[in-house]
């Protein structure tokens, strides 16, 4: 069945999908002699045929093939990758045999079992490749449609949709599964799901599994009220409860049908069931709904932008829609330095601050000379999306960087930007199309910035023509009619506003945008001009404004207006009134401190991102802001002294219960960053303070406490040899014999594994290894340490560090 035929069918009548496969197989104990359900397709095909047939007999128009988990990652885990072809071929073929004429065979796809980065470890490209493998086989063996279902993570869904679009000719249905509060477990709500799925060009969207039919019907209402795409509805029979080794589903057939009828009234087009439903559910559903005409939905056009957890309809938003402009290194030395060091602390600070100040989107620009922008921009997108929920505007002139970033962006972002240059259009329009992004289009071309509104509109026309040809929807285009400095081009402001007004008439589907702050370049009291201009632009039909959301945008100044209307030649009147204006200087307290003290406070306050720049300046003998820092004469001593002084205070504060574990760790990480630079600069093979072995003893898998100890010891400059978890006493002592450390730190969390510590102590004594043994962990006590002959017990990381520092001091005393 081709795509159009399927979509036409959906216009004429609702379709009945099937019910659960997995829980049916479980109930019939059909899974007892296979690795995974998909293996049944080739090992016991009659079992799958039986399930398919039972749904076909119950009235299903669409049957999902038993290919839910037949992706290469999962098949490989179960040594079935070489059977992928057979499994998928039979999955489809068995439907053809069991189903009635006209039965639609759906290739079923679901999660790979691993989250995509940054939530998980799987790269987006690997996820895409895995889905592509599966979809290509579904295409090869003749699936009529693809159903992507039970997805909980939006980037994984994005990879699946793109793979389906690239490898399959038929219709694609994308379904996610939601919790009771209307969000997926990873925080995506219905509209964010819809915004992304719709923008990527799926043919239908839907809800499956989740929390039972009643709650899912409520969510179907939201979904149906937000889109004109066909909608599928495939609830489970309530949340399963595992009682006495039996999975019980609380939902009844009556509730299921009642909720499905409710969903029908909202305009749902496809109905089926998920976990816990069976042919009885589907038969009851078909009795009520089969062949009914769908309830028409006539949803007015929406233009969503979205992130992982938030979507908004541009058409419903108050103007201007604010795009925060601050994540941009242009002209900001410190920002650039940080990005060159691969750090994102300022990026994240700007993201948080602009979101808090009310920005609706964040522009992200990583254009620093000498960086790998392709990698940096994608990383920045991941980092920002971990901490703020507003959608992003990806800003680069490098098409490769743009593509990598929008691919890695959860949700539907904006691209900033294309223009009328042929090369740009050719490179960027396909990216906007493929990833379904909104697209800012600057009305410039190879000849530069046009002087007149007419010429800018002509470029807009050209861009639209090209976009139409590529298939970028007009509602995704946002024209920037360009802001030039009123001080140097006073006649241009009127042209910009004129072009916007005309654009609204000529291209009503397209939105408009301006980078407002350019207008005031070279003038005093810039914000007066910016804010006044913004108001004038809004009257001319401005939709989006790229601005600094921290500034005040309530000013409307008559003199500025005159200037902007080109009625103040030479800006004479404006300058008279504002020439003496001075912007209040931003206080930069930390920068006024001597470098050594900056380092001290960076470690004390756990500001690890600030450390590399300060330490580098100390080591390179950069002039101190105060000019008289004695530390720079011996830079390595300066670094060491200040880091250790800060750490000592951290330790005191921890002991006094003024600081707690998070602060210890943050300070430790900052100190580590400082010592890492010293070590690199000195090109030393090992750290000065000495070596320490740490390990969690055999039988014990607990890691985190040991790692905290390791981080704190490293922060004091010790070289930590972390042998990991579940380490045999013999291996630990052998290692100690080999490297002769100052101390061995042993961790155990359970009483059952503590005896391993005694083994290590005895072995150390028997082999004459000199290293001291210090023990710790939840169940370990000082009494126990004494009983087994350990040299010390530490109740936490700071005590461990104190003890081992003491050993260093002793060793130094002996040497001298």
């Amino acid at each position: 069945m081709d795509k159009q035929h399927f979509l036409d069918l959906l216009k004429s009548r609702v379709l009945i999908m099937d019910g659960a496969t997995g829980t049916q197989l479980q109930k019939k104990k059909y899974l007892d002699d296979v690795e995974i359900p998909e293996e049944l397709n080739i090992k016991f095909p009659e079992r799958i045929s039986e399930i398919y047939k039972s749904y076909a007999d119950a009235g299903s128009d669409i049957i999902l093939a038993n290919t839910f988990g037949a992706n290469p990652i999962r098949l490989k885990q179960h040594n079935l990758l070489d059977k992928a072809d057979d499994i998928i071929r039979e999955g489809i073929a068995l439907i053809r045999k069991a189903g009635k004429a006209g039965c639609i065979a759906a290739g079923d796809i679901s999660s790979l079992g691993e989250y995509v980065q940054p939530l998980g470890q799987l790269s987006f490209d690997d996820a895409y490749e895995a889905f592509s493998f599966q979809v290509a086989l579904l295409q090869k063996y003749g699936a009529d449609i693809i159903v992507i279902e039970t997805m909980t993570e939006i980037k994984e869904l994005k990879a699946a949709i793109l793979a389906a679009k690239d490898n399959f000719n038929g219709a694609i249905i994308a379904q996610m599964t939601f919790t009771q509060d209307g969000m997926t477990v990873t925080g995506t709500d219905i509209k964010s799901f819809l915004a992304m799925a719709e923008s990527l060009g799926v043919d239908a969207v839907g809800l499956n599994c989740s929390v039972g039919a009643k709650d899912l019907a409520r969510m179907a209402k939201t979904l149906c009220a937000s889109t004109n795409l066909p909608v599928s509805f495939k609830p489970n029979a309530g949340m399963p409860v595992l009682i006495n080794r039996e999975t019980r589903f609380p939902g009844t057939v009556e509730e299921f049908v009642e909720s499905s009828l409710e969903a029908y009234s909202y305009g749902v087009n496809m109905f089926g069931g998920c976990c816990g439903t069976d042919p009885v559910f589907i038969k009851a559903l078909a009795t009520e709904l089969k062949n009914k005409a769908p309830v028409a939905r006539n949803i007015k056009k929406r233009f969503y932008l979205s992130s992982r957890t938030k979507a908004f309809d541009v058409n419903e938003m108050k103007r201007p829609i604010v795009i925060g402009e601050r994540i941009n290194p242009t002209g900001r030395k410190k920002f650039q330095e940080e990005l060159l060091n691969g750090a994102f602390s300022l990026v994240k600070d700007e993201a948080r601050a602009q979101a808090a100040a009310g920005a609706n989107l964040l522009d992200v620009n990583m254009g620093v000379p000498g960086v790998d922008e392709v990698n940096l921009l994608a990383q920045a997108v991941n980092q920002i999306q971990e901490i703020v929920s507003i959608p992003l505007c990806i800003d680069s002139s490098n098409p490769k960087a743009l593509e990598e970033a929008v691919k890695n962006c959860a949700g539907k972002p904006l691209i900033n930007s294309v223009n009328g240059e042929e090369a740009k259009l050719e490179a960027i329009l396909p990216i906007a199309k493929r990833y379904g992004c909104g697209l800012i289009a600057l009305t410039t071309d190879d000849e530069g910035i046009p002087k007149t509104a007419e010429r800018r509109l002509a470029i807009a026309k050209k861009i639209i023509k090209k976009a139409d040809a590529v298939g970028v929807k007009r509602e995704n285009i946002i024209f920037d009619y360009l802001v030039l400095a009123v001080s140097s081009s006073p006649e241009q402001t009127g042209e910009t506003l004129k072009a916007m007004r005309e654009s609204k008439k000529l291209y009503p589907e397209c939105k408009t945008l301006l980078g407002v702050s350019n207008i005031s370049f070279g003038l005093p009291s810039r914000q007066t001009v910016n804010s006044t201009f913004l108001k004038m632009a809004l009257e001319a039909g401005l939709d989006f404004a790229i601005i600094n959301p921290h500034e005040s945008w309530g000013v409307f100044d008559p003199l500025a207006k005159q200037l902007l209307e080109n009625k103040d030649p030479g800006a004479v009147k404006y300058m008279e009134a504002n020439a003496s204006f001075k912007k209040p200087a931003v206080k930069q307290e930390s920068a006024a401190l001597p470098l050594a003290r900056q380092l001290y406070f960076a470690v004390l306050n756990g500001n690890k991102e600030a450390v590399p720049a300060v330490v580098s300046q100390i080591i390179n003998g950069v002039n101190d802001p105060r000019g008289n820092d004695p530390g720079v004469e011996d830079p390595f001593k300066t670094v060491s002294d200040n880091v250790l002084e800060a750490l000592n205070l951290v330790g005191e504060k921890f002991a006094a219960k003024e600081f707690f574990l998070p602060q210890i760790i943050m300070s430790a990480e900052a100190a580590q960053a400082a010592f890492a630079i010293v070590k690199k600069t000195l090109k030393k093979a090992s750290n000065d303070a000495g070596k320490v072995i740490i390990a969690t003893v055999k039988g014990d898998m607990h890691d985190i406490g040991k790692n905290i100890v390791g981080a704190v010891l490293e922060s004091y400059g010790f070289e930590v040899i972390d042998m990991g978890i579940n380490v045999d006493a013999r291996d630990i002592i052998d290692k100690a014999q080999e490297i002769n450390p100052l101390a061995i730190g042993l961790s155990a969390l359970m009483t059952t594994t503590m005896p391993e510590m005694e083994k290590a102590v005895n072995l150390r004594n028997a082999l004459g290894v000199k290293a001291k043994i210090i023990v710790g962990g939840a169940a370990v006590t000082k009494k126990f340490a004494d009983e087994i002959g350990a040299d010390s017990y530490a109740k936490d990381a700071m005590e461990t560090a104190r003890y081992i520092k003491g050993l260093t001091a002793e060793a130094e005393k002996l040497r001298s």
Binding site: Q121, V241, I243, E386, G606, K657, G699, T752
Partner: protein, 215 residues
């Protein structure tokens, strides 16, 4: 009333994570920057958890240090026997938050992002505790509607209920159905999993009432 055990919607509380990290109920609080970073890690943790629960129940008899379940399963522990002394029934419960959070934590450890690893670990522990508390409350609520009350919960590895005995306990529960496995040291994987036994006794311990309550 139907038994409803659902832990899928639990939320990780910032205050509980702070407590887990050692912040006491004093005036000492993280500063704004630290609070923001801890909350961001908790948000990540919230996205990574997929809490699930499994329960089982049987009528029991307690004799000496042996708790005998009607299906033949036994717990040998004087402390468990003491806890379930007046109980006619016992529930076993196991919860897990799934493997994703621990994978992410381990990734942070490997990248030397110890701060994030520590917060994620604490948030995972809070989530597992919240899941088992939620399941416990749901059991207690169900039993209350049958005029019964529940005992405190008790886990293998504490007191004289040996950790090694957890294997049989989890087998009885069918904990593998929600992805809980034991390693060779009898520790649960995923690590942020909790199992416990909870006793049920009648509110008024008359023999007649006890008979009526055996639902």
């Amino acid at each position: 009333m139907r038994m409803n055990i659902n832990v899928s919607n639990i939320k990780i509380s910032y205050e509980d994570v702070l407590q887990r990290l050692g912040y006491l109920k004093t005036s000492e609080r993280p500063d704004q920057k630290l609070e923001t970073e801890i909350k961001e890690c908790i948000e990540t943790a919230q996205k990574l958890i997929a809490p699930k629960a499994v329960i089982a129940f049987e009528n029991i008899t307690v004799s000496g240090s042996i708790v005998a379940f009607e299906n033949g399963y036994k717990i040998e522990s004087s402390q468990v026997a003491k806890l379930l002394k007046d109980c006619f029934k016992a529930y076993g419960v196991a919860v897990t938050i799934g493997p994703a959070l621990e994978k992410k934590r381990n990734e942070f450890i490997a990248q030397k992002e110890t701060f994030k690893a520590v917060i994620l670990d604490a948030a995972g522990a809070v989530a597992a505790e919240e899941a088992v508390s939620t399941a416990n409350k749901q059991i207690t609520e169900f039993e209350r509607t049958h005029n019964n009350k529940t005992s405190k919960r008790f886990s293998a590895g504490y007191g004289d209920w040996l950790l090694a005995k957890q294997k049989e306990f989890l087998e009885w529960l069918g904990a593998a159905n929600i992805g809980i496995r034991l390693n060779n040291s009898f520790q649960m994987q995923p690590e942020k999993s909790v199992s416990a036994v909870i006793g049920v006794k009648v509110v008024i311990a008359s023999p007649e009432r006890a008979r009526q309550s055996r639902t």
